[in-house]
Symmetry: C2
Subunit: 202 residues, 2 copies
Amino acid sequence: MPKGLLFVVSGPSGAGKGTICRRLLQKMDIDLSISMTTRKPRPQEVEGENYYFISEEEFLEIIKNDGFLEYAKVYGNYYGTPKEMVTQKLENGRDVVLEIDIQGALQIKASYPDGIFIFILPPSMAELRKRITGRGSETENDINLRLGETLKEVAYIDKYDYCVVNGEIDEAVNRVAAIIIAEHSRVSEDIYELIEKYKEEI
Amino acid sequence: MPKGLLFVVSGPSGAGKGTICRRLLQKMDIDLSISMTTRKPRPQEVEGENYYFISEEEFLEIIKNDGFLEYAKVYGNYYGTPKEMVTQKLENGRDVVLEIDIQGALQIKASYPDGIFIFILPPSMAELRKRITGRGSETENDINLRLGETLKEVAYIDKYDYCVVNGEIDEAVNRVAAIIIAEHSRVSEDIYELIEKYKEEI
């Protein structure tokens, strides 16, 4: 059976990678990678859906066993992508989509270079500012810092295979869906099995 | 303006590359590359639609000026893909689709390596035999020779970027369409223009 493909959907905060992934799951036959975290669940969060909530001891043990495709400590909490859950799905022929920030994507590129890396871009900095401002939780100064950070992050785009500008959400989702279909049409080892079959038939 | 992309749709005779290209033209905003030939037009053939019909003198002159992306002599007639017509469309930002046999595709790969090369495969040799037999113009022996030839041609698949198995025509057309969309989402120099704009905006 051909292995599944890992699609890493990444980009700056506010570019819309979360929305794109949610829409993709409705549209395509693909699994979402669920992260593990040591953070306490928020009221509406569901174990195994938003995150796997584990203890710091458990998390450190998994790190020790090289069990994460990537992990990071943010504001005192650990977050990580469990390696075995992803690779097992891939081995079973399932595609996996993984939503992650840019630092995390770069770590995954190191640990799983066969992944397909998609950078989601905002249509403009003005639009990104509007989206961040709309969330209402940050000061003007915070927002300016964030936009400066975004510019630095965008410089990593050359580590990615694809980039999708998320101006209109339907179009962006369709583009990512097209990338998934196209990647399954790449000339790869799987095709040589079909060619072997041809030889037997003739 | 970003340049257009050249999609070379190729594969063994009977795989259905012609049908796929016709359907693609109805579905996508893309131009077809029209070949030149020294063959006399058949009753229903239209100049500039099926072929550009030119004299042998004209054809040889274009060869001398390196004016073909590829050309071949088949049963005493020349056939070729005029370079300037294709490159001009690409420069104008138009995508071009080019339907061609495998030998021609390999020539184009040498003269225009930026092209995207798609190999159309029949779902099985049994199905290919049925399609060729259906045309009714060849003997059993001819058909066996053709299938043997196809096996040799399929070995060139590793020179291609994509392969699409044409079992169900709608699905095959959708796959090629997805490849076209995905290739426009590749990280390329065009994206750096957008990033430069970001910098001005901030």
